[in-house]
Protein backbone atom coordinates (compact mmCIF):
# COMPACT_ATOMS: atom_id res chain seq x y z
CA UNK A 1 0.00 0.00 0.00
CA UNK A 2 0.87 3.64 -0.26
CA UNK A 3 3.64 3.44 -2.81
CA UNK A 4 1.96 6.11 -4.89
CA UNK A 5 4.05 9.25 -4.80
CA UNK A 6 1.96 11.27 -7.21
CA UNK A 7 0.45 14.61 -6.29
CA UNK A 8 -1.19 17.56 -7.98
CA UNK A 9 1.22 19.98 -9.66
CA UNK A 10 -0.62 23.17 -8.73
CA UNK A 11 -3.65 24.36 -6.80
CA UNK A 12 -5.39 25.75 -9.86
CA UNK A 13 -4.69 22.52 -11.72
CA UNK A 14 -6.36 20.55 -8.92
CA UNK A 15 -9.41 22.86 -8.92
CA UNK A 16 -9.78 22.72 -12.71
CA UNK A 17 -9.44 18.93 -12.69
CA UNK A 18 -12.04 18.68 -9.91
CA UNK A 19 -14.32 21.09 -11.79
CA UNK A 20 -13.69 19.08 -14.97
CA UNK A 21 -14.72 15.97 -13.07
CA UNK A 22 -17.99 17.61 -12.08
CA UNK A 23 -18.71 19.47 -15.32
CA UNK A 24 -19.99 16.83 -17.68
CA UNK A 25 -22.60 16.18 -20.32
CA UNK A 26 -25.24 16.51 -17.60
CA UNK A 27 -24.54 20.23 -17.20
CA UNK A 28 -25.54 20.99 -20.77
CA UNK A 29 -28.08 18.25 -21.47
CA UNK A 30 -29.47 16.72 -18.30
CA UNK A 31 -29.97 19.96 -16.32
CA UNK A 32 -32.03 21.91 -18.88
CA UNK A 33 -34.06 18.83 -19.81
CA UNK A 34 -34.78 18.10 -16.14
CA UNK A 35 -35.81 21.73 -15.70
CA UNK A 36 -38.18 21.50 -18.68
CA UNK A 37 -39.68 18.22 -17.47
CA UNK A 38 -40.17 19.52 -13.94
CA UNK A 39 -41.99 22.78 -14.37
CA UNK A 40 -39.28 25.09 -15.72
CA UNK A 41 -38.52 27.82 -13.19
CA UNK A 42 -40.02 25.75 -10.38
CA UNK A 43 -37.09 23.37 -10.66
CA UNK A 44 -34.42 25.97 -9.87
CA UNK A 45 -35.45 26.55 -6.23
CA UNK A 46 -35.39 22.89 -5.08
CA UNK A 47 -32.19 22.54 -7.09
CA UNK A 48 -30.51 25.38 -5.15
CA UNK A 49 -31.83 24.12 -1.81
CA UNK A 50 -30.51 20.61 -2.61
CA UNK A 51 -27.16 22.15 -3.54
CA UNK A 52 -26.90 23.97 -0.20
CA UNK A 53 -28.14 21.14 2.04
CA UNK A 54 -26.77 18.11 0.22
CA UNK A 55 -24.32 19.10 -2.50
CA UNK A 56 -22.01 21.38 -0.49
CA UNK A 57 -21.91 19.07 2.58
CA UNK A 58 -21.14 16.05 0.38
CA UNK A 59 -18.35 17.97 -1.35
CA UNK A 60 -16.70 18.76 1.99
CA UNK A 61 -17.22 15.21 3.25
CA UNK A 62 -15.72 13.64 0.11
CA UNK A 63 -12.73 15.98 -0.03
CA UNK A 64 -12.08 15.39 3.68
CA UNK A 65 -12.41 11.61 3.34
CA UNK A 66 -10.03 11.66 0.37
CA UNK A 67 -7.31 13.77 1.95
CA UNK A 68 -7.54 11.82 5.24
CA UNK A 69 -7.07 8.53 3.38
CA UNK A 70 -4.43 9.91 1.02
CA UNK A 71 -2.07 11.16 3.71
CA UNK A 72 -2.22 7.64 5.18
CA UNK A 73 -1.26 6.07 1.86
CA UNK A 74 -4.74 5.10 0.65
CA UNK A 75 -5.86 6.28 -2.79
CA UNK A 76 -8.89 4.09 -3.43
CA UNK A 77 -12.32 4.23 -1.81
CA UNK A 78 -12.24 0.77 -0.14
CA UNK A 79 -9.09 1.61 1.82
CA UNK A 80 -9.87 5.29 2.31
CA UNK A 81 -13.15 4.26 3.95
CA UNK A 82 -11.43 1.38 5.72
CA UNK A 83 -8.95 3.79 7.30
CA UNK A 84 -11.72 5.82 8.94
CA UNK A 85 -13.49 3.16 10.99
CA UNK A 86 -12.61 -0.19 12.57
CA UNK A 87 -15.38 -2.24 10.93
CA UNK A 88 -14.21 -4.31 7.93
CA UNK A 89 -17.51 -3.76 6.17
CA UNK A 90 -16.44 -0.24 5.12
CA UNK A 91 -13.79 -1.67 2.81
CA UNK A 92 -16.50 -3.54 0.95
CA UNK A 93 -18.84 -0.55 0.95
CA UNK A 94 -15.91 1.26 -0.66
CA UNK A 95 -16.12 -1.16 -3.61
CA UNK A 96 -18.99 1.02 -4.82
CA UNK A 97 -16.45 3.81 -5.35
CA UNK A 98 -14.60 1.76 -7.96
CA UNK A 99 -17.57 -0.15 -9.38
CA UNK A 100 -19.69 2.95 -10.02
CA UNK A 101 -16.91 4.61 -11.99
CA UNK A 102 -16.12 1.57 -14.10
CA UNK A 103 -19.82 1.10 -14.81
CA UNK A 104 -20.42 4.73 -15.75
CA UNK A 105 -17.24 5.10 -17.80
CA UNK A 106 -18.41 2.10 -19.88
CA UNK A 107 -21.38 3.92 -21.35
CA UNK A 108 -20.16 7.48 -20.82
CA UNK A 109 -17.12 6.98 -23.05
CA UNK A 110 -19.50 5.82 -25.77
CA UNK A 111 -21.40 9.13 -25.60
CA UNK A 112 -18.05 10.92 -25.49
CA UNK A 113 -17.11 9.19 -28.73
CA UNK A 114 -20.31 10.52 -30.37
CA UNK A 115 -19.28 14.06 -29.46
CA UNK A 116 -15.81 13.34 -30.89
CA UNK A 117 -17.30 12.17 -34.20
CA UNK A 118 -19.81 15.02 -34.33
CA UNK A 119 -17.03 17.59 -33.73
CA UNK A 120 -15.20 16.19 -36.76
CA UNK A 121 -18.41 16.18 -38.78
CA UNK A 122 -19.00 19.83 -37.84
CA UNK A 123 -15.48 20.69 -39.01
CA UNK A 124 -16.21 19.00 -42.35
CA UNK A 125 -19.70 20.61 -42.48
CA UNK A 126 -21.38 17.22 -42.93
CA UNK A 127 -24.76 18.46 -41.70
CA UNK A 128 -25.07 21.45 -43.99
CA UNK A 129 -28.25 21.42 -46.05
CA UNK A 130 -29.80 18.43 -44.26
CA UNK A 131 -33.43 18.55 -43.13
CA UNK A 132 -34.45 17.97 -39.50
CA UNK A 133 -35.47 14.41 -40.33
CA UNK A 134 -32.20 13.71 -42.18
CA UNK A 135 -30.09 14.96 -39.23
CA UNK A 136 -32.10 12.77 -36.88
CA UNK A 137 -31.74 9.76 -39.18
CA UNK A 138 -28.00 10.37 -39.49
CA UNK A 139 -27.67 9.79 -35.75
CA UNK A 140 -29.81 6.63 -35.84
CA UNK A 141 -27.66 5.36 -38.68
CA UNK A 142 -24.47 6.26 -36.78
CA UNK A 143 -25.40 4.22 -33.69
CA UNK A 144 -26.88 1.45 -35.83
CA UNK A 145 -30.53 1.82 -34.84
CA UNK A 146 -32.58 -0.53 -36.98
CA UNK A 147 -36.08 0.17 -35.68
CA UNK A 148 -36.50 -3.54 -34.93
CA UNK A 149 -37.13 -5.21 -31.59
CA UNK A 150 -40.92 -5.14 -31.87
CA UNK A 151 -42.70 -6.88 -28.97
CA UNK A 152 -39.41 -7.31 -27.13
CA UNK A 153 -37.80 -9.47 -29.83
CA UNK A 154 -34.00 -9.87 -29.95
CA UNK A 155 -32.17 -7.00 -31.63
CA UNK A 156 -28.52 -6.22 -32.20
CA UNK A 157 -26.79 -3.03 -33.45
CA UNK A 158 -23.48 -3.19 -35.31
CA UNK A 159 -22.38 0.41 -35.88
CA UNK A 160 -18.86 0.04 -37.33
CA UNK A 161 -17.89 3.73 -37.28
CA UNK A 162 -19.31 4.25 -33.83
CA UNK A 163 -17.23 1.32 -32.58
CA UNK A 164 -14.08 2.73 -34.24
CA UNK A 165 -14.72 6.17 -32.70
CA UNK A 166 -15.36 4.57 -29.32
CA UNK A 167 -12.07 2.66 -29.42
CA UNK A 168 -10.19 5.85 -30.40
CA UNK A 169 -11.85 7.80 -27.56
CA UNK A 170 -11.13 5.04 -25.06
CA UNK A 171 -7.50 4.88 -26.25
CA UNK A 172 -7.19 8.64 -25.73
CA UNK A 173 -8.50 8.29 -22.16
CA UNK A 174 -6.12 5.41 -21.47
CA UNK A 175 -3.18 7.42 -22.87
CA UNK A 176 -3.89 10.46 -20.68
CA UNK A 177 -4.43 8.29 -17.60
CA UNK A 178 -1.12 6.51 -18.24
CA UNK A 179 0.62 9.91 -18.05
CA UNK A 180 -0.50 10.33 -14.46
CA UNK A 181 -2.09 13.15 -12.50
CA UNK A 182 0.09 16.19 -13.08
CA UNK A 183 1.53 14.94 -16.38
CA UNK A 184 -1.81 13.90 -17.91
CA UNK A 185 -5.11 14.79 -16.21
CA UNK A 186 -3.99 18.17 -14.87
CA UNK A 187 -2.50 19.26 -18.19
CA UNK A 188 -5.71 18.33 -20.02
CA UNK A 189 -7.85 20.19 -17.44
CA UNK A 190 -5.74 23.35 -17.66
CA UNK A 191 -6.21 23.56 -21.43
CA UNK A 192 -9.69 22.07 -21.75
CA UNK A 193 -11.62 23.90 -19.03
CA UNK A 194 -10.88 27.46 -20.25
CA UNK A 195 -11.72 26.26 -23.80
CA UNK A 196 -15.02 24.84 -22.55
CA UNK A 197 -15.88 28.22 -21.01
CA UNK A 198 -15.09 30.02 -24.28
CA UNK A 199 -17.27 27.61 -26.29
CA UNK A 200 -20.07 27.88 -23.73
CA UNK A 201 -20.05 31.67 -23.62
CA UNK A 202 -20.07 31.83 -27.44
CA UNK A 203 -23.13 29.56 -27.67
CA UNK A 204 -24.92 31.34 -24.81
CA UNK A 205 -24.42 34.69 -26.59
CA UNK A 206 -25.87 33.15 -29.78
CA UNK A 207 -28.92 32.00 -27.78
CA UNK A 208 -29.40 35.31 -25.95
CA UNK A 209 -29.33 37.24 -29.24
CA UNK A 210 -31.57 34.82 -31.17
CA UNK A 211 -35.00 36.19 -30.19
CA UNK A 212 -37.91 35.64 -32.60
CA UNK A 213 -36.66 33.57 -35.56
CA UNK A 214 -39.82 34.06 -37.63
CA UNK A 215 -40.06 30.37 -38.55
CA UNK A 216 -43.05 30.02 -40.90
CA UNK A 217 -46.14 28.53 -39.28
CA UNK A 218 -44.62 28.62 -35.79
CA UNK A 219 -45.95 31.25 -33.38
CA UNK A 220 -43.81 30.09 -30.44
CA UNK A 221 -40.48 29.97 -32.29
CA UNK A 222 -38.80 32.54 -30.08
CA UNK A 223 -35.70 31.85 -27.98
CA UNK A 224 -36.96 34.27 -25.33
CA UNK A 225 -39.92 31.94 -24.73
CA UNK A 226 -37.36 29.25 -23.93
CA UNK A 227 -35.72 31.50 -21.33
CA UNK A 228 -39.16 32.47 -20.06
CA UNK A 229 -40.13 28.82 -19.59
CA UNK A 230 -36.87 27.98 -17.81
CA UNK A 231 -36.88 30.97 -15.51
CA UNK A 232 -40.53 31.77 -14.75
CA UNK A 233 -40.76 30.85 -11.05
CA UNK A 234 -43.77 28.64 -10.26
CA UNK A 235 -43.78 28.37 -6.50
CA UNK A 236 -46.79 26.02 -6.35
CA UNK A 237 -44.66 23.23 -7.82
CA UNK A 238 -42.50 23.30 -4.68
CA UNK A 239 -45.09 21.09 -3.00
CA UNK A 240 -44.51 18.34 -5.58
CA UNK A 241 -42.12 15.65 -4.28
CA UNK A 242 -41.36 14.60 -7.86
CA UNK A 243 -39.75 17.99 -8.56
CA UNK A 244 -37.68 17.79 -5.37
CA UNK A 245 -36.48 14.29 -6.20
CA UNK A 246 -35.51 15.33 -9.71
CA UNK A 247 -33.63 18.37 -8.36
CA UNK A 248 -31.78 16.35 -5.73
CA UNK A 249 -30.94 13.69 -8.34
CA UNK A 250 -29.52 16.38 -10.59
CA UNK A 251 -27.28 17.62 -7.75
CA UNK A 252 -25.85 14.12 -7.35
CA UNK A 253 -25.24 13.79 -11.05
CA UNK A 254 -23.84 17.25 -11.67
CA UNK A 255 -21.43 17.44 -8.72
CA UNK A 256 -20.27 13.84 -9.27
CA UNK A 257 -20.88 13.15 -5.59
CA UNK A 258 -21.55 9.59 -4.46
CA UNK A 259 -19.22 8.23 -7.11
CA UNK A 260 -15.86 8.06 -5.36
CA UNK A 261 -14.00 10.17 -7.92
CA UNK A 262 -13.75 13.21 -5.63
CA UNK A 263 -12.33 11.05 -2.83
CA UNK A 264 -9.70 9.63 -5.16
CA UNK A 265 -8.70 13.02 -6.59
CA UNK A 266 -8.56 14.49 -3.06
CA UNK A 267 -6.41 11.55 -1.92
CA UNK A 268 -3.52 13.21 -3.77
CA UNK A 269 -3.93 16.51 -1.88
CA UNK A 270 -1.07 17.17 0.55
CA UNK A 271 -1.45 17.10 4.33
CA UNK A 272 -2.79 20.42 5.73
CA UNK A 273 -3.49 21.70 2.19
CA UNK A 274 -6.81 23.55 1.99
CA UNK A 275 -9.86 21.55 1.01
CA UNK A 276 -12.64 23.85 2.22
CA UNK A 277 -12.02 26.63 -0.32
CA UNK A 278 -10.83 24.36 -3.12
CA UNK A 279 -13.97 22.24 -2.97
CA UNK A 280 -16.22 25.32 -3.01
CA UNK A 281 -14.36 26.81 -5.98
CA UNK A 282 -14.68 23.61 -8.02
CA UNK A 283 -18.29 23.05 -6.93
CA UNK A 284 -19.43 26.60 -7.69
CA UNK A 285 -17.60 26.57 -11.02
CA UNK A 286 -19.70 23.53 -11.87
CA UNK A 287 -22.78 25.49 -10.77
CA UNK A 288 -21.78 28.41 -12.98
CA UNK A 289 -21.36 26.16 -16.02
CA UNK A 290 -24.70 24.49 -15.35
CA UNK A 291 -26.94 27.40 -14.29
CA UNK A 292 -25.45 30.17 -16.40
CA UNK A 293 -24.22 28.33 -19.52
CA UNK A 294 -26.11 25.01 -19.46
CA UNK A 295 -29.47 26.73 -19.05
CA UNK A 296 -28.73 29.20 -21.84
CA UNK A 297 -27.94 26.97 -24.81
CA UNK A 298 -29.95 23.93 -25.83
CA UNK A 299 -33.48 24.85 -24.69
CA UNK A 300 -33.60 28.52 -25.89
CA UNK A 301 -32.03 27.64 -29.28
CA UNK A 302 -34.40 24.67 -29.73
CA UNK A 303 -37.44 26.77 -28.78
CA UNK A 304 -36.19 29.46 -31.19
CA UNK A 305 -36.53 27.14 -34.20
CA UNK A 306 -38.82 24.29 -33.15
CA UNK A 307 -41.27 26.14 -30.90
CA UNK A 308 -42.10 25.77 -27.22
CA UNK A 309 -44.67 22.99 -27.65
CA UNK A 310 -42.25 20.85 -29.63
CA UNK A 311 -39.56 21.26 -26.97
CA UNK A 312 -41.98 20.42 -24.13
CA UNK A 313 -42.90 17.21 -25.93
CA UNK A 314 -39.53 16.18 -27.32
CA UNK A 315 -36.94 17.52 -24.90
CA UNK A 316 -34.46 14.73 -24.22
CA UNK A 317 -30.80 13.84 -24.05
CA UNK A 318 -30.58 12.84 -27.72
CA UNK A 319 -31.59 16.36 -28.81
CA UNK A 320 -27.89 17.20 -28.61
CA UNK A 321 -27.18 14.93 -31.58
CA UNK A 322 -30.53 14.53 -33.34
CA UNK A 323 -31.65 18.16 -33.34
CA UNK A 324 -28.86 20.63 -32.58
CA UNK A 325 -26.88 20.15 -35.85
CA UNK A 326 -30.07 20.98 -37.79
CA UNK A 327 -30.67 24.12 -35.70
CA UNK A 328 -27.07 25.30 -36.19
CA UNK A 329 -27.62 24.79 -39.92
CA UNK A 330 -30.06 27.72 -39.81
CA UNK A 331 -27.13 30.06 -39.17
CA UNK A 332 -25.44 29.59 -42.52
CA UNK A 333 -22.46 27.37 -43.45
CA UNK A 334 -19.67 29.16 -41.54
CA UNK A 335 -21.52 29.96 -38.34
CA UNK A 336 -23.20 26.55 -38.28
CA UNK A 337 -19.82 24.86 -38.57
CA UNK A 338 -18.35 27.09 -35.82
CA UNK A 339 -21.36 26.48 -33.57
CA UNK A 340 -21.18 22.73 -34.20
CA UNK A 341 -17.49 22.71 -33.29
CA UNK A 342 -18.20 24.78 -30.16
CA UNK A 343 -21.18 22.60 -29.10
CA UNK A 344 -19.71 19.16 -29.70
CA UNK A 345 -16.22 20.31 -28.69
CA UNK A 346 -17.69 21.59 -25.44
CA UNK A 347 -19.49 18.29 -24.86
CA UNK A 348 -16.34 16.34 -25.69
CA UNK A 349 -14.29 18.37 -23.20
CA UNK A 350 -17.00 18.03 -20.55
CA UNK A 351 -17.05 14.29 -21.24
CA UNK A 352 -13.33 13.55 -21.26
CA UNK A 353 -12.51 15.57 -18.13
CA UNK A 354 -15.17 13.49 -16.34
CA UNK A 355 -14.21 10.11 -17.78
CA UNK A 356 -10.56 10.70 -16.86
CA UNK A 357 -11.67 11.30 -13.28
CA UNK A 358 -13.67 8.10 -13.38
CA UNK A 359 -10.54 6.16 -14.29
CA UNK A 360 -8.65 7.37 -11.21
CA UNK A 361 -10.28 5.12 -8.55
CA UNK A 362 -9.19 1.97 -10.41
CA UNK A 363 -5.71 3.38 -11.03
CA UNK A 364 -5.25 4.32 -7.36
CA UNK A 365 -6.50 0.91 -6.26
CA UNK A 366 -4.21 -1.25 -8.40
CA UNK A 367 -1.18 1.01 -7.92
CA UNK A 368 -1.61 0.99 -4.12
CA UNK A 369 -2.61 -2.59 -3.54
CA UNK A 370 -0.95 -4.57 -6.32
CA UNK A 371 2.02 -2.30 -7.07
CA UNK A 372 1.01 -2.03 -10.72
CA UNK A 373 2.60 0.68 -12.81
CA UNK A 374 0.51 3.60 -14.08
CA UNK A 375 0.62 2.18 -17.60
CA UNK A 376 -0.49 -1.27 -16.50
CA UNK A 377 -3.30 0.29 -14.48
CA UNK A 378 -4.45 2.37 -17.47
CA UNK A 379 -4.26 -0.54 -19.94
CA UNK A 380 -6.21 -2.89 -17.70
CA UNK A 381 -8.84 -0.22 -17.16
CA UNK A 382 -9.08 0.17 -20.95
CA UNK A 383 -9.54 -3.59 -21.36
CA UNK A 384 -12.23 -3.81 -18.66
CA UNK A 385 -14.11 -0.82 -20.07
CA UNK A 386 -13.93 -2.28 -23.58
CA UNK A 387 -15.50 -5.55 -22.40
CA UNK A 388 -18.21 -3.77 -20.40
CA UNK A 389 -18.92 -1.17 -23.07
CA UNK A 390 -19.43 -3.55 -25.99
CA UNK A 391 -22.88 -4.69 -24.76
CA UNK A 392 -23.98 -1.05 -24.47
CA UNK A 393 -22.96 -0.50 -28.10
CA UNK A 394 -24.20 -3.75 -29.60
CA UNK A 395 -27.43 -3.78 -27.60
CA UNK A 396 -27.96 -0.02 -27.50
CA UNK A 397 -31.48 -0.32 -28.89
CA UNK A 398 -32.28 -3.15 -26.47
CA UNK A 399 -31.68 -0.75 -23.58
CA UNK A 400 -28.38 -2.03 -22.09
CA UNK A 401 -27.09 1.55 -22.12
CA UNK A 402 -30.07 2.62 -19.98
CA UNK A 403 -29.59 -0.34 -17.62
CA UNK A 404 -26.00 0.71 -16.94
CA UNK A 405 -27.09 4.30 -16.46
CA UNK A 406 -29.83 3.33 -14.03
CA UNK A 407 -27.84 0.99 -11.79
CA UNK A 408 -24.40 2.61 -11.83
CA UNK A 409 -25.24 6.22 -12.70
CA UNK A 410 -28.30 6.62 -10.50
CA UNK A 411 -28.92 3.98 -7.83
CA UNK A 412 -25.30 3.30 -6.84
CA UNK A 413 -24.59 7.03 -6.35
CA UNK A 414 -27.30 7.43 -3.73
CA UNK A 415 -26.27 4.27 -1.84
CA UNK A 416 -22.61 5.27 -1.75
CA UNK A 417 -23.34 8.88 -0.76
CA UNK A 418 -25.51 7.64 2.10
CA UNK A 419 -22.75 5.31 3.27
CA UNK A 420 -19.97 7.89 3.13
CA UNK A 421 -21.88 10.59 5.01
CA UNK A 422 -22.85 8.07 7.73
CA UNK A 423 -19.23 6.88 7.96
CA UNK A 424 -17.95 10.44 8.17
CA UNK A 425 -20.48 11.92 10.61
CA UNK A 426 -21.36 8.91 12.75
CA UNK A 427 -18.45 6.45 12.72
CA UNK A 428 -15.43 8.71 12.15
CA UNK A 429 -17.28 11.22 14.34
CA UNK A 430 -18.52 14.70 13.53
CA UNK A 431 -15.95 16.38 15.80
CA UNK A 432 -13.09 14.61 14.01
CA UNK A 433 -14.75 15.25 10.68
CA UNK A 434 -15.20 18.94 11.38
CA UNK A 435 -11.52 19.21 12.34
CA UNK A 436 -10.57 17.45 9.10
CA UNK A 437 -12.67 19.82 6.95
CA UNK A 438 -11.19 22.88 8.70
CA UNK A 439 -7.59 21.65 8.67
CA UNK A 440 -5.64 24.13 6.53
CA UNK A 441 -8.87 25.83 5.43
CA UNK A 442 -8.49 29.15 3.61
CA UNK A 443 -12.13 30.04 4.35
CA UNK A 444 -14.19 29.88 7.51
CA UNK A 445 -16.61 27.02 7.05
CA UNK A 446 -19.98 28.15 8.52
CA UNK A 447 -20.61 26.31 11.80
CA UNK A 448 -24.20 25.62 10.74
CA UNK A 449 -22.81 22.97 8.40
CA UNK A 450 -21.71 20.82 11.34
CA UNK A 451 -25.30 19.82 12.29
CA UNK A 452 -26.29 19.89 8.61
CA UNK A 453 -23.67 17.24 7.75
CA UNK A 454 -24.63 15.14 10.77
CA UNK A 455 -28.42 15.32 10.49
CA UNK A 456 -29.82 17.10 7.47
CA UNK A 457 -27.69 15.62 4.67
CA UNK A 458 -28.17 11.96 5.71
CA UNK A 459 -31.89 12.60 6.17
CA UNK A 460 -32.07 14.26 2.74
CA UNK A 461 -30.33 11.29 1.10
CA UNK A 462 -32.46 8.81 3.05
CA UNK A 463 -35.62 10.45 1.72
CA UNK A 464 -34.25 10.20 -1.83
CA UNK A 465 -33.35 6.54 -1.34
CA UNK A 466 -36.71 5.59 0.18
CA UNK A 467 -38.63 7.57 -2.43
CA UNK A 468 -36.71 5.88 -5.22
CA UNK A 469 -37.24 2.44 -3.68
CA UNK A 470 -40.97 2.85 -3.21
CA UNK A 471 -41.91 5.35 -5.93
CA UNK A 472 -45.59 4.93 -6.83
CA UNK A 473 -46.85 5.52 -10.40
CA UNK A 474 -45.46 8.89 -11.54
CA UNK A 475 -44.24 9.98 -8.10
CA UNK A 476 -46.49 13.05 -7.93
CA UNK A 477 -48.01 14.14 -4.60
CA UNK A 478 -51.39 12.72 -5.65
CA UNK A 479 -49.73 9.37 -6.50
CA UNK A 480 -48.18 9.14 -3.02
CA UNK A 481 -51.55 9.92 -1.43
CA UNK A 482 -53.24 7.25 -3.56
CA UNK A 483 -50.46 4.79 -2.71
CA UNK A 484 -50.92 5.29 1.05
CA UNK A 485 -54.69 4.96 0.68
CA UNK A 486 -54.15 1.69 -1.24
CA UNK A 487 -51.73 0.47 1.45
CA UNK A 488 -54.21 1.12 4.26
CA UNK A 489 -57.20 -0.28 2.40
CA UNK A 490 -55.72 -3.30 0.61
CA UNK A 491 -52.34 -3.82 2.27
CA UNK A 492 -50.47 -3.56 -1.02
CA UNK A 493 -48.25 -0.83 -2.43
CA UNK A 494 -48.58 0.27 -6.07
CA UNK A 495 -44.90 0.34 -7.05
CA UNK A 496 -44.00 2.22 -10.20
CA UNK A 497 -42.21 0.03 -12.72
CA UNK A 498 -39.28 2.48 -12.60
CA UNK A 499 -38.99 2.40 -8.79
CA UNK A 500 -35.90 0.50 -7.60
CA UNK A 501 -38.06 -2.35 -6.28
CA UNK A 502 -40.11 -2.28 -9.48
CA UNK A 503 -36.92 -2.54 -11.50
CA UNK A 504 -35.40 -5.35 -9.44
CA UNK A 505 -38.53 -7.54 -9.62
CA UNK A 506 -39.66 -6.40 -13.09
CA UNK A 507 -43.01 -5.32 -11.63
CA UNK A 508 -45.82 -4.56 -14.10
CA UNK A 509 -43.74 -6.12 -16.91
CA UNK A 510 -44.01 -9.57 -18.52
CA UNK A 511 -40.82 -11.49 -17.83
CA UNK A 512 -40.04 -13.50 -20.95
CA UNK A 513 -36.44 -14.49 -21.67
CA UNK A 514 -37.02 -16.52 -24.83
CA UNK A 515 -39.63 -16.17 -27.52
CA UNK A 516 -39.86 -18.40 -30.58
CA UNK A 517 -36.44 -19.82 -29.73
CA UNK A 518 -34.71 -16.42 -29.64
CA UNK A 519 -33.61 -14.42 -26.61
CA UNK A 520 -35.73 -11.35 -25.87
CA UNK A 521 -34.76 -7.78 -24.94
CA UNK A 522 -35.63 -8.70 -21.34
CA UNK A 523 -33.02 -11.47 -21.46
CA UNK A 524 -30.38 -9.05 -22.79
CA UNK A 525 -31.18 -6.50 -20.07
CA UNK A 526 -31.04 -9.12 -17.33
CA UNK A 527 -27.72 -10.43 -18.63
CA UNK A 528 -26.34 -6.87 -18.55
CA UNK A 529 -27.41 -6.69 -14.90
CA UNK A 530 -25.61 -9.97 -14.28
CA UNK A 531 -22.49 -8.53 -15.91
CA UNK A 532 -22.62 -5.53 -13.58
CA UNK A 533 -23.14 -7.81 -10.57
CA UNK A 534 -20.17 -9.93 -11.63
CA UNK A 535 -18.07 -6.78 -11.99
CA UNK A 536 -19.01 -5.75 -8.46
CA UNK A 537 -18.26 -9.24 -7.12
CA UNK A 538 -14.91 -9.31 -8.95
CA UNK A 539 -13.91 -5.96 -7.47
CA UNK A 540 -15.03 -7.04 -3.99
CA UNK A 541 -12.85 -10.16 -4.37
CA UNK A 542 -9.86 -8.02 -5.36
CA UNK A 543 -10.45 -5.84 -2.28
CA UNK A 544 -10.58 -9.02 -0.18
CA UNK A 545 -7.20 -10.16 -1.60
CA UNK A 546 -5.71 -6.71 -1.03
CA UNK A 547 -6.98 -6.59 2.55
CA UNK A 548 -5.46 -10.04 3.23
CA UNK A 549 -2.16 -8.89 1.73
CA UNK A 550 -2.16 -5.89 4.05
CA UNK A 551 -2.94 -8.07 7.08
CA UNK A 552 -0.15 -10.54 6.20
CA UNK A 553 2.31 -7.70 5.70
CA UNK A 554 1.35 -6.22 9.07
CA UNK A 555 1.77 -9.61 10.85
CA UNK A 556 5.15 -10.18 9.18
CA UNK A 557 6.32 -6.74 10.28
CA UNK A 558 5.11 -7.33 13.85
CA UNK A 559 6.76 -10.76 13.94
CA UNK A 560 10.11 -9.38 12.81
Amino acid sequence: MGKVKESWGSRIGLILAMAGNAVGLGNFLRFPIQAVQNGGGAFIIPYLVSFLLMGIPLLWVEWALGRYGGVRGNHSTPFIMGSMAKQRIWKYVGVFGIFTNIGIISYYTYIESWTFTYTLQSIFQSFNGLSAAEVSQAFDHYVGITGGGANGAFIINIPIWAIVAFVVTLALNVYVLSKGLSGGIEKVAKIAMPLLLIFGVFLAIMAFTLGDTGEPGCSTCNANLGFEFLWNPQFDSLANPKVWLAAAGQIFFTLSVGMGTILCYAAYVKKHEDIALNSMTAGWMNGFVEIVLGASIVIPIAVGYMGLDWVKENAGFMMAFKTMPYLFGKWGPVLSSLSGIAWFGLLFIAGITSSLAMGTPWMGFVEDEFNWSRKKGAYTLGAIVLVLALPTILFFEAGVFDEYDYWTGTVALVIFAMAEVILFAWFFGMDNGWKEINDGADINVPLIYKPIIKWVTPFFILIILISSLFKPLNGDMADWQTAFNTLFSTGSWPFASDSIIGQIFHLNVDVVWFKDGSPTIMFIKDMSRMLLLLTFAGLAFMVHIAANKRRNLKSTKQAS
Binding site: W231, L277, T281, M285, G287, I291
Partner: protein
Protein backbone atom coordinates in the same frame (compact mmCIF):
# COMPACT_ATOMS: atom_id res chain seq x y z
CA UNK B 1 -39.90 37.23 -21.61
CA UNK B 2 -41.83 38.35 -18.53
CA UNK B 3 -40.27 40.77 -16.05
CA UNK B 4 -40.64 38.21 -13.27
CA UNK B 5 -38.71 35.56 -15.23
CA UNK B 6 -36.08 38.09 -16.31
CA UNK B 7 -35.49 39.25 -12.73
CA UNK B 8 -35.37 35.67 -11.43
CA UNK B 9 -32.86 34.69 -14.12
CA UNK B 10 -30.65 37.73 -13.51
CA UNK B 11 -30.69 37.29 -9.72
CA UNK B 12 -29.86 33.55 -9.82
CA UNK B 13 -27.29 33.69 -12.62
CA UNK B 14 -25.50 36.77 -11.28
CA UNK B 15 -25.44 35.37 -7.71
CA UNK B 16 -23.86 32.13 -8.95
CA UNK B 17 -21.38 34.07 -11.10
CA UNK B 18 -20.37 36.41 -8.24
CA UNK B 19 -19.92 33.55 -5.75
CA UNK B 20 -17.85 31.54 -8.25
CA UNK B 21 -15.75 34.60 -9.04
CA UNK B 22 -15.26 35.32 -5.33
CA UNK B 23 -13.96 31.82 -4.64
CA UNK B 24 -11.60 31.96 -7.63
CA UNK B 25 -10.35 35.35 -6.41
CA UNK B 26 -9.70 33.86 -2.96
CA UNK B 27 -7.78 30.95 -4.52
CA UNK B 28 -5.67 33.12 -6.82
CA UNK B 29 -5.09 36.22 -4.70
CA UNK B 30 -6.37 35.42 -1.20
CA UNK B 31 -4.21 35.33 1.89
CA UNK B 32 -3.13 31.78 2.72
CA UNK B 33 -3.61 30.54 6.24
CA UNK B 34 -0.32 29.94 8.11
CA UNK B 35 0.45 26.27 8.73
Amino acid sequence: MSTEALIFMIVVQSTVTVITGYFFYKVLFGKKREE
